[in-house]
Each structure stands twice: as structure tokens, then as C-alpha cells.
């Protein structure tokens, strides 16, 4: 099960090795050539049968997590890597380093907190990670300074086709792209698995510079806020309503013709599709769009509730819609030589 295997690997930004090795092994079966660049992006090239175009697909391998920054007695102090709501942290399970040393995030017990403290959220600087060490020396040995820490959360299926896992953002995109790699297309296809998205879209721009694509589609796990407390116009996406197309976010304004074309393609083929309603957040498309003399981009995502937490939740049918839509769009690119050019002004 690709989604289970991918989400249970640890790959906090800057430490994507485990994920990269896994993807490389899978991709080797289908790609014509695999390049690992200096930042650690994995670029899988699939030679086309005829077309002159270069199409880039991109999903990021990294996930949000933590890093060991110091010690307080036998406990680890830690910093976040990527955007994490510190209020969700107390009581969470983590795995430290390559050896996956289990730990839990702890804080001062409630009965010892002052009245004023109880009324406020516990700050991350007042939390620690308990790895069961007895002494500082032992903690330092088990979890040296700079060691990466990932959420510990197992892939679980529940409800009507729901999946709970950590790192759905963006292993779900990685899973989709690995499926895409299995087929051959008319155009030259560059399937890129990028690094360091969560800390500033860093890998994607470098990968895009190397690939120099005519067009790029970013495949993501995106926010889904169809939950109590949010009003309908504040929902970013709705779970179960299909692949989510981005109209605009903080980092990119995807090519309107391409986005509209993708929406029409979905409708024509009865693939569930929705527009992402909010314009906050950003993804690799922002960097790819501005690479070299500009790239036509779009991004399509699987809605994930509780994103950037160890209990992200998605629906399998949304994954399938997203995969079908990417396949359908590539299929259309192949059937019409001039289609890609038509997205440019």
C-alpha cells in the first residue's frame, strides 16, 4: 500500500533521505533516467514518444517536524520545522532520529500550573520531549543536537473510505506521481520529488531551473476546513468533493487557461473537482512559476483535514479523483500537439 508506506516514512524538511530512497526504488522501475540534484530533489525523466514539450510534475517529499535544539536535564528541547500549531503538541508521540527512538511531548502538569498559566496555551518553549533518558548525557547520546524529530502516527483506515496519517502533505502527491510514472506519454515528462517545501518552497525552484519545463503541475495535499466552527465561505476545500484546483494563493496565480482547462477536463470525464475557496497558503507552484523566463503552472490537491498534524485525514476517493484528473490532463496534452502552447498568451 503506497500511501501507508509513504506516510510512515520520516522525512522532515532537509532530511528527506528515507523518502527519497523509497521513491527512487519505486521510480527506477518506470523512469528512463533519475537525477538527484545538489539539494536532494529527485528528478525522474520519462522520455516522450514524439512531442517537443517538456512537462514537469512536482510533489514535495518533506513533511513538518522538529529538531533537537538543547537539553533540560534528561529532556530534549526542540524547534519546529515548518508551520506547526504549538497548541496541538502536548501529549503527542514522536520518533527521534534515524533509529526512531520513541518520545512524547510533555509539559508541566496541570496541577502544578499557576492559575494564570492554566488560562493560557502552553508555549512550545515550555514543552520538552521525553525519550525516557535518565541523565542528560544519555539524552545527548540518543538524540544529539540537530537530530531530526518526526510525528509518530500510523496509517489508519476508518469510516467510509477515510484515511488518517501524518505527512499526507505531501506524500499523497508523491503517491499520485509514482502512479503517473507507470505510463508513457507523448511529451517528455519530468516527475520531480522536491525537498524543503515546508520551510520556504526551496527545492522546487532549483528543480524547475534544471528541468526548464514548458508547463508544470504541482500535486499537493491541501487544507480542508469543512469542520464545526468554520462558516461555509471559510471552507478552503470540502472532503469528498474531489480534486481541488487552486485559483490563487499567496505564492502563485496559476495560469487561468490551464486551470479552467483542468476543471473542464474533470467535468467532461465525470471526475469530481472543486475550486479551493481560500487564497491563503502557498506551495511549490509559486517558485516554479517564476523560474527562468516564467512557467505555466497549476496546482491540484487532495483535501486534508488537520493538515500539519499527526492526524491528517483525507478520503481515498479524493486521492482517486486527483490521480484520475492528472492522468486525464496528461492524456489531453498528448492528444493535441498545440494544446500546451495555447495556455501561453
Amino acid at each position: 500500500m503506497l500511501i501507508k508506506e509513504l506516510t510512515e516514512l520520516n522525512g522532515v524538511s532537509g532530511n528527506e533521505d528515507e523518502v527519497r530512497e523509497f521513491i527512487k526504488k519505486e521510480a527506477e522501475k518506470y523512469a528512463d533516467e533519475i537525477t538527484e540534484d545538489s539539494m536532494g530533489n529527485l528528478i525522474c525523466y520519462k522520455k516522450g514518444t514524439s512531442s517537443k514539450y517538456r512537462v514537469m510534475l512536482s510533489a514535495h517529499m518533506d513533511e513538518v517536524g522538529f529538531m533537537v535544539t538543547g537539553y533540560e536535564d534528561s529532556m530534549l528541547k526542540f524547534a519546529s520545522i515548518g508551520g506547526i500549531d504549538e497548541r496541538i503538541l502536548p501529549g503527542k508521540r514522536v520518533l527521534v532520529g534515524e533509529k526512531r527512538i520513541p518520545g512524547v511531548i510533555g509539559s508541566k502538569p496541570i496541577h502544578l500550573q499557576e492559575k494564570a498559566e492554566r488560562g493560557n496555551n502552553i508555549k512550545q518553549k515550555n514543552m520538552y520531549i521525553d525519550i525516557g533518558a535518565e541523565k542528560k548525557e544519555e539524552a545527548e547520546k540518543l538524540a544529539p543536537l540537530g537530530e531530526y524529530i518526526a510525528f509518530h502516527s500510523l496509517y489508519t483506515e476508518f469510516g467510509d473510505g477515510c484515511i488518517k496519517a501524518k505527512a499526507l502533505d505531501d506524500r499523497i502527491g508523491c503517491a499520485i506521481l509514482l502512479e503517473i510514472l507507470k505510463e508513457t506519454y507523448q511529451f517528455d515528462l519530468y516527475v520531480c520529488f522536491t525537498v524543503q517545501e515546508e520551510i520556504g518552497l526551496r527545492g522546487a525552484g532549483v528543480a524547475a531551473f534544471r528541468v526548464n519545463p514548458d508547463i508544470a503541475i504541482v500535486v499537493e495535499g491541501t487544507t480542508c476546513s469543512d469542520v464545526p466552527g468554520a462558516r461555509e465561505h471559510e471552507y478552503s476545500t470540502v472532503m469528498g468533493q474531489g480534486a481541488a484546483l487552486t485559483i490563487m494563493d499567496r505564492t502563485s496565480y496559476p495560469n487561468k487557461k490551464l486551470v479552467e482547462f483542468m476543471c473542464k477536463t474533470a467535468q467532461n470525464r465525470n471526475i469530481p473537482v472543486q475550486y479551493k475557496q481560500t487564497t491563503t497558503g502557498g506551495n511549490d507552484a509559486g517558485k516554479i512559476q517564476l523560474t527562468r523566463d516564467g512557467v505555466v503552472v497549476a496546482s491540484v490537491s487532495v483535501p486534508c483535514r488537520y493538515i500539519h498534524s499527526p492526524v491528517s485525514v483525507m478520503k481515498r476517493e479524493d486521492y482517486e479523483s486527483c490521480l484520475k484528473l492528472v492522468k486525464a490532463v496528461l492524456d489531453e496534452f498528448g492528444s493535441d500537439e498545440n494544446l500546451i502552447e495555447s495556455f501561453c498568451v
Binding site: 462558516r231 485559483i247 496565480y253 512559476q289 516564467g294 501561453c344 498568451v345
Partner: protein
Amino acid sequence: MFDLLKKLTGIVGVSGNEEEIREAIKEEIKDCVDEVKVDALGNLIAVKKGKGKKIMVAAHMDEIGIMVTYIDDNGFLRFSAIGGVSRYDSIGQRVKFKNGVVGAVYYEEKLDDIKNLQLSKMYIDIGAKSKEEAKNMVQVGDVACFVGDTVLQGDTVISKALDNRSGCFVVVKAIKELKETDNEIYFVFTVQEEVGLRGARTAAFSINPDIAIAVDVTMTGDTPESHPMEVKCGGGPAIKIKDRSVLCHPEVRRLLEESAKRINIPYQLEILEAGGSDPGSIHLTAGGIPSGAISIPVRYVHSPVETASMSDINNAVRLLVEAIC
């Protein structure tokens, strides 16, 4: 003169939706240059060929505005800002969509304190009675600009989108009044400046010029109790020293200052404490491009009542022509 400015300011051209303004500018200049092209992001690049210095002139075509994100059962629209839209300036304004639909911007009455005003508590009323009726008028993803007629009163222009159609006007006029020169000049009307100086970056990469000069607007310090700033409306075009995105290259600043002195026009020096501009991304592109800017002093930037002096705009045209030829 004023007619062209009025034409340019009147067009709806919110960031990422520059199609109409691009066409209008293209029509104005296409017979005055050697080549006109549009790149993948939508930048309009007009080339005057030559064998001398390679100069990039950039003016962004886009303006701030709003995008529809949701239509409710009663036909009211919810929206996101595109670029630096002030929630407070937006209250009670009209917005206009490309298809001519006009809406009123207002906020939910239950709001207890105006300080808590957020865009998610605001809406646009287009007079639709139902979701269906609204959907026949606008779609999610459609953009609109603020309405603000262009008026000339003495030397003063009041209008929406002087940021940066006044800069576009300056570049269009400069193209028409270009003097004999051997320089190769790339006049770029850039896209998506208001959402992060985006178009200028890709255009600068493909052109890779020796120097770049942007024409944009700047704020002023000449209104009651305004934040102190040594720029005023009517004091002449400003030569940019810095803003939040760039420290202008001293050679470009010198070129502009010397040009202004040569043709004997008033000018001011601009040190902008807030905001960025296209040179911010241009100067960091490729191997680094010496960049600077001519700025038109504008009061109430990003409101529908942006106010400028026509003589500053005209002097900016003369300054640009002198600097690049």
C-alpha cells in the same frame, strides 16, 4: 494627454488578469517599436532594437482588487484581496467586474467593534436575489477592481489605479517620444507586481539587460499629519534611492539625476519606508542587474482616490526619454 491616462486607468486589470490592459497598451505602442511579444506569465515586452547599451524599462500594468471566493444562498459574494487592499478603505466602495457587473462592498452588521473587521466578515452585494442569479452574473474566481473615476482638476488627477497606470502612461509616452539612440531598449509592461513583484523577475531573466529602470508610483509626506516623507505631489518626479525591496544602484540613480539636471526639470529623491517595487526582483535576477526607478508621487496609494500631479507625470516622461536615449 489626459485622455490616454484616463483610458489606461479606466481598464480593469487586477493582478493576474492583465489581458485587457495589455491589449490596450499593445495597440498604443505596436507601431512605434521593432518587436512586441508576450511571455509565459503575460508580461508585454516591446523592443526597440539597437547595438548600444541594453536597457530594460519596466512599468507594472496590474492593479489591486478582489477575487470572488464564495457565493451564498442569498446571492452575496465573499471575497479575497488581491494585493494590498485596505479593509477600511474598502467599506462603502464600489467594485467593478470585467463584464461590467458592479457591487457594493460592506460588512456584517453583527460586528461588535470595527477594529475586529476582517475580510472574512465582509461581502459584496451585486443585487442578486439568489445564488443562481448571482452565478449568472459572476463566478467564483472572477476578479473586480475598485471604482474610481479619473478626474483632472487644474494640475491634479484623482483616479483609481494611478498605481501604476500613470507609470504605464509615462512609458507609453516615452516610446512615442523616443529620440534617436543606438541603445537596445526593452519596454516591459509587467504583471503581478502587486502580489509580489512577480512578472518583472521572469522578464528580467529573459532580457538580462545591462541596467533596468522601473516607472512606478511612490507615497508622499505632504498631507495633514502624514508620516514624514520628503516627497510631495507637484515637486517633480522622484528618483528612487530605496524602498523595502531594493537599494537602487548608485550608477542608475546618478544617470537619472544627471538626466533631470540636463533637461532642467524639478526632481525629488525617494526613500520609501513601506512597500516594494519591481526593481526589488529585477536587481536580484540572473547575475544581478543594476536597477533604479522613476517614481510618480501619489497620495492615498491603493485607494480609489489616488491623487497625483499631471506635471510630475509629464516631467517623468521627459526624464525617462532623456535617461534612456
